[in-house]
Symmetry: C2
Subunit: 209 residues, 2 copies
């Protein structure tokens, strides 16, 4: 709580402090536990103070989600790494990064995908989501380019398939929730195997069978 230390009348960085407080609250009490009043309390500030920075609770959540998408995009971009060392390998790395994000940042993930925010709650939110998706789209383009031109599936569809699979695995099994369904393997292995089978279905088998 170094963002709480000694301060005078002005907080100095209340906006960021509220976002952090919201993330902690999501972690502790779930999405429904995020309240303007409690975020203010966590930041050590009066209940009226947040209004200087956010119109209402939803605006705060939208900002949390936007930041989440930015971090998400950064992780996916790093994993893709321009398609190196090799598109297929890099593609799988993107999948792993997707799960790693859901696992290591469950609060962000919840705000991004489960808060029920209209995606156009703010233009910034929509654009951040779009940029994150575009990483997946770029990767799919590169992978599709490996396929023979005839019968090549649209890369947009491939990217949506992988996104759906990754999101499904993450939602159903990917968070640390105890009491979640037991798996005979890790979510990472499950997703990786799924992507491999899918890519083989596209004709990109590593001729392993």
């Amino acid at each position: 709580m170094s963002w709480h230390e000694r301060r005078g009348y002005h907080h100095g960085n209340l906006r960021e402090a509220l976002i952090k407080a919201a993330l902690n609250l999501i972690g502790e009490k779930g999405l429904g536990g995020v309240t303007f009043a409690e975020a203010a309390r966590a930041a050590g500030v009066s209940p009226a103070a947040p209004y200087r920075h956010f119109r209402d609770r939803d605006a705060l959540m939208a900002e949390v989600a936007r930041q989440g998408f930015e971090r998400f995009e950064a992780m996916l971009t790093a994993a893709w790494n321009g398609g190196r060392p090799e598109p297929l390998k890099a593609f799988e790395n993107v999948g792993r990064a997707y799960l790693a994000f859901a696992r290591s940042e469950p609060a962000y993930y919840a705000a991004m995908f489960e808060a029920g925010l209209p995606p156009d709650a703010s233009a910034e939110l929509r654009e951040a989501g779009e940029r994150a998706y575009s990483v997946l789209r770029t990767a799919s383009d590169a992978v599709c380019a490996l396929l023979p031109k005839e019968g090549r599936p649209p890369a947009s569809m491939v990217s949506l398939h992988v996104w759906s699979l990754a999101h499904g695995v993450a939602s159903l099994f990917g968070r640390g929730d105890p009491g979640r369904r037991k798996l005979p393997m890790t979510p990472e292995e499950l997703l990786e195997a799924g992507v491999l089978i899918y890519l083989q279905g596209l004709g990109l088998g590593e001729s392993k069978r």
Copy 2:
């Protein structure tokens, strides 16, 4: 509102009425909008009445989710239809039924998968979820049995892949939410294409390529 008509001191079927009220509230205001007091109001009953039937809000939601899983199981079972006329065809029907449920019963779907209920909130809930999953599992067993014995993937994994893909598509694109991401195709087509590619990756291509 025929479940509201004329009644005397006793409601007669308050338990079911509260469940219906909860479903309506989910539809109107989202999961967070479900409140004991408001469900009572919708059922035309005093705020203390629900306590005769449910310990608290979570118990009510768990019962909604349980009923949802039962309907879900029934739909999936009907779609599978014992693997007729042919396992692969029936398997695809199960996928379509999954999406159809998410689309036609979004309130149930939300209670089942997004309410953040611990799956063992009640034994009945857990078991209902298990039974629904087992339909998918049965279908996957049958499909895997079509594969040559060597290198055959475990059916448990296949069922989890399909479940994840279906859940991902349903969560991201499958509900009627306006403002949801635009798709170049319907969710049903997206899922069907994904399952087909996946099955081809398993070696079950209909030799179409």
